[in-house]
Symmetry: C2
């Protein structure tokens, strides 16, 4: 009712379970599919994988609507190919905006879920960081290349410096991070978000 009241939105079908959702979606080819996580026969995440998962040629735009905001559902849904994740307490405004966003190829996620996503995305500042002794910009350059699997020779070539310089920087990095080999540098880089 909420959606159908919008002039730019038309509800073309409403189904009772996941299997029917897949069937009707393929028949009607709607611009957007609204799915609940909890559905009979086929799970909402399963349906998402079928309709929009990796490897699907003409993926549907899927918005997950659910009352459960557990992290495992969120990540599972987004990994399955969902372009939206709404909690049922989000109110009609966000529901409408989520559908419009999905139709445009964008994604709207519930604010209470987004705030947790951002903690994992943009705030990877963590404990093993060199709090007492931060890395210099140049050392970070070396870290980023090391973390991608470059050898010292390749790092030297890409930074236009000599092999000795790279090894010197590496020594400083080892001391500052308190690690013993380049793979631990890579692990630190991935954990702290220096590379992604």
């Amino acid at each position: 009712m909420i959606l159908d009241a919008q002039p730019d939105i038309e509800v073309v079908a409403a189904v009772a379970d996941g299997a029917e959702a897949v069937a009707q979606a393929r028949r009607l080819r709607p611009d957007v599919c609204l799915l609940d996580i909890r559905m009979p026969k086929l799970d909402g995440l399963e349906v998402t994988r079928v309709l929009a998962g990796p490897g699907v040629e003409n993926p549907f735009r899927v918005v997950i609507v659910t009352t459960f905001d557990l992290d495992e559902y969120v990540y599972g849904a987004l990994r399955s190919g969902a372009t939206g994740f709404l909690l049922k307490d989000s109110g009609p405004t966000l529901l409408i905006e989520a559908v419009r966003a999905a139709a445009a190829g964008d994604a709207l996620v519930s604010p209470s879920v987004t705030v947790r996503l951002l903690q994992h995305v943009a705030q990877p500042r963590r404990a093993p960081a060199p709090v007492n002794d931060p890395l210099t910009d140049r050392e970070l350059d070396v870290v980023r290349l090391i973390a991608r699997g470059r050898t010292n020779q390749e790092v030297a070539a890409e930074l236009f410096v000599s092999l000795s310089t790279v090894k010197t920087h590496l020594g400083s990095i080892f001391a500052k991070l308190g690690v013993r080999n380049r793979v631990e540098i890579a692990a630190w880089a991935w954990e702290s978000g220096v590379v992604s």
Copy 2:
């Protein structure tokens, strides 16, 4: 005007530059601060770091509003402590919802920005996976330890096998993943989610 028309929102100040934004925010202690990226004197990201950056004791809720949706601005803003990121073409509805979400401690990000964030967050499934030749369980054991920075000797000790066995497994892993050194194994492990 848009915000003040809402019954649950009151605009308490409007400033002309970043320095004034910091001063007024500290004086009025608003529930939410709306900041533009482009501001005289103090950059919007600078203001965000001062008001909501890591290490601030009573952080403000900051929503960035801008016309520029470059990735560097988005990540910079969110890393600086912003709890929202809106493009100016988002329409009044999302602006209002973003303020409400920020006041509640949540975060609303423009759908067109969110869709790019999700690609980096929830889609770490990537090409270099061994599609044609999956790793065995034992090889995955080795991969996990290597990715954490263990030397071959340490891997051997933790798996109760000899150094030769570890090196043999490593050879297989190199061939299957198509990589040339252990750091690339670590990078693959972090990207594909084998370790986290």
